[in-house]
Symmetry: C2
Subunit: 189 residues, 2 copies
Amino acid sequence: MKKTYSAKANEIMDVAEAHMRKGGFDAVSFRDLASAVGVKSASVHYHFPQKPDLGQAIVSRYRSRIAETLGDAADSRASIAKLKLLFSVYSTALNSGDSVCLCCMLGAESRYLPTDVAAEVSLFFGDMTDWTRGALQADLPKARAAALAAHIISALQGAMVLSVALDDNSHLTNTQKMLLRFVKSELES
Amino acid sequence: MKKTYSAKANEIMDVAEAHMRKGGFDAVSFRDLASAVGVKSASVHYHFPQKPDLGQAIVSRYRSRIAETLGDAADSRASIAKLKLLFSVYSTALNSGDSVCLCCMLGAESRYLPTDVAAEVSLFFGDMTDWTRGALQADLPKARAAALAAHIISALQGAMVLSVALDDNSHLTNTQKMLLRFVKSELES
DNA sequence: GTCTATAATTTGATAGAC
DNA sequence: GTCTATCAAATTATAGAC
């Protein structure tokens, strides 16, 4: 199921992903990508015939990468440890990319996105809420875990927006602290 | 301080704002705006010489409108009542616009925005966190109110992203429920 | 305030040679 | 896989008439 790409294709996706996170889907152009990786725009079209192909590939790869980092939500680790792993994924993304989550950017402009790309973004959020629900499910009723999971993902995404917009990453750490506090109190009740 | 605009200028801003919320800054073009309000693109340039002028005007007007709706955070209403008023602003925005908050969209692409526009977006988030802090300050230590306020705004923004990306507005209501629960527990402690 | 006309640039995409 | 060359369309913006 996990598609593989040539070295050059991956290189193109790297540049495109970084750019898309900062400016959205329309912010990347075939010409800019081409010159960034040292080829001509026609060559980029060879790897990704249409722009939606490129967009979908990037989001799909993004999903796989994060799924790999998170691992199985149903394993034996403690709920709080899993939550902290989730937090670290977001912190790393923000600190290393100086921009919001790829799917936060694309999710916001979902309405004007090619349908395949929007669908893949939707899958991403499904991944994240599912994983988080799985991480909490050992300690909470199923419905409660699901509601809490969706809230956690929402809050993390929003905190990245404020961090970028205000150029102050402490907004992400602040929200993580608040969420941890809230989750702990929920687990006790 | 609050700038006023001609009827036509406001009409242009209405269309541009709706469009920008769904697709970002680059998603609006002078030609599209022009035809939507029944003039030619040169006329749009008459009202807003450069595109950043238009962007800044829209965000500034957005800020005033919300400030007016929220009113004074330091008045005599109860903290929880104020919080619910804040929630209703977000619910209305999502339900009536079928898109994220204007400044969520623009905040995410902050890095690639004209500086005046990015600055105005930054002011918006300042407005929101300040107001919310003010609403909580009667019942909480100042530092605690500030941290909680920033978290609330973050979570609401993120919940709008999930609502749009998953085409399911219950994500916003869910997060509002969670926040209310959390705030109440904080007020009691 | 609005128009016509136009300049200068950028965009996604394709045909066909190597 | 990459190139040259090119197209059709869209973009921001301006000059100048009415």
